[in-house]
Symmetry: D2
Subunit: 137 residues, 4 copies
């Protein structure tokens, strides 16, 4: 499992390079799931001092892709549809749990769900869904 | 108009600080619309060398927010829902046009649409929709 | 609880009148949740003999609205955003479980999630999210 | 063109059978587009007397599918993702224009957009996006 997590961490690093999430910590991963943690830094926020919507979407994209990659070999696929509903703001210093799970992996499409929660009380910050195409587009 | 564009450019800079889009160029803005241009750099891409899904979502978020801010004074609002459909990949070196327009501004909610297109042939890369709440959340 | 379920059933009837779901059975409801069951009839299907996408969306809309109404007094609100991801088809004769839960109720917005599953094996047919505005639009 | 419209009308009838939209009128169709008109009847409305959200989603689903079918031979495909943003209510007696256009048809996926507008003033009621899978699921 330690070895497996090391691979996941490398995957996560590759996927998030240049997106300002080098500080994302992998909590667990496997069986179609991936859970990460991030402390909101100033660079992740908009001018209101809260986690930027695009940053939230980037977390949905990246962590769900790692969750998908735990389901088997092959490419990570390409995004087809992604949606995010924002329920609560996360402020600088807040620890955010990003919890991705695979809803279904079919022959050509995969479906993933992501919950973002505040670590301190488990309240939902955002929920996203991500559809990926697994073939050669 | 030049003066107005200068304000928009400052708004855009504020909104995109830390998101890796400092190189975004404002083409035009006003009357609920905002059009920007970005050359895809390596830092915007995933390991496949194409524009990262989270980056696309960040462009949808930021440029639609600037479009909204041209409709009148007040806060930029907070995101409620955002979705993106990905139709084509954008590669390093591609010039991308981000075209945001305000669908409706109500008393408490605003609705925006964003088209991302390749500059060279006008083909759609992605389309996103963004709902913002204008009150005090 | 029997009395409470009777109220929910009346609410459900009101919400679904004319939408072809008079046969929807209420399993349970309360505390922001509502679970219903429907046997797919020919009138719910498209020409391929599977549950119509618009019908699936109608189930997401209606059952999440009943779930919301269990959280307290007041209007059912008006829809702001709704999305559905379709993962598997449901055929005529299939028993479908529609499971709605309230993610958050704020002062002016409410957020709901709905899972549609096949009763026989629990596999996901679709997942939807629904944002409602609670004020006077 | 009259002959072509007759085919489209038959397609529309097939797609909308049982969904309460037998009264939908085809305005035009072809080249990936389809425009229909519907007068809101009591059976399309929720208890507030306005067009039901699920009904709006059914219109998005059906009219975009007809628009897709004008692009060439083959199956209508199956729905993968659908979203609707609701901007304004439509009341009993209102004439609604449903305007669907194909954004892209690829080898295995097709992308469609639908605008619903009030006929009297052209104001947007709702906007939806629909992703369909064209292969054998």
């Amino acid at each position: 499992m330690a070895g497996s997590n090391q691979v996941l961490r490398q995957v996560l690093n590759l996927l998030t390079k240049g997106s300002g999430f080098d500080q994302m910590r992998l909590i667990s991963g496997g069986d179609g799931k991936c859970q990460c943690e991030l402390t909101v830094e100033e660079e992740h926020t908009n001018r209101g001092g809260t986690l930027h919507g695009g940053m939230t979407a980037t977390l949905v994209d990246s962590v769900s892709t790692v969750a998908l990659m735990t389901t088997g070999p092959g490419l990570p696929g390409v995004s087809v549809d992604m949606n995010v509903t924002f329920m609560k703001s996360a402020k600088i210093g807040d620890d955010v749990i990003i919890d991705a799970s695979t809803l279904k992996v079919g022959k050509t499409l995969a479906f993933l769900n992501v919950d973002l929660k505040l670590k301190k009380d488990g309240s939902l910050i955002a929920q996203g869904r991500h559809t990926k195409y697994l073939g050669n587009s």
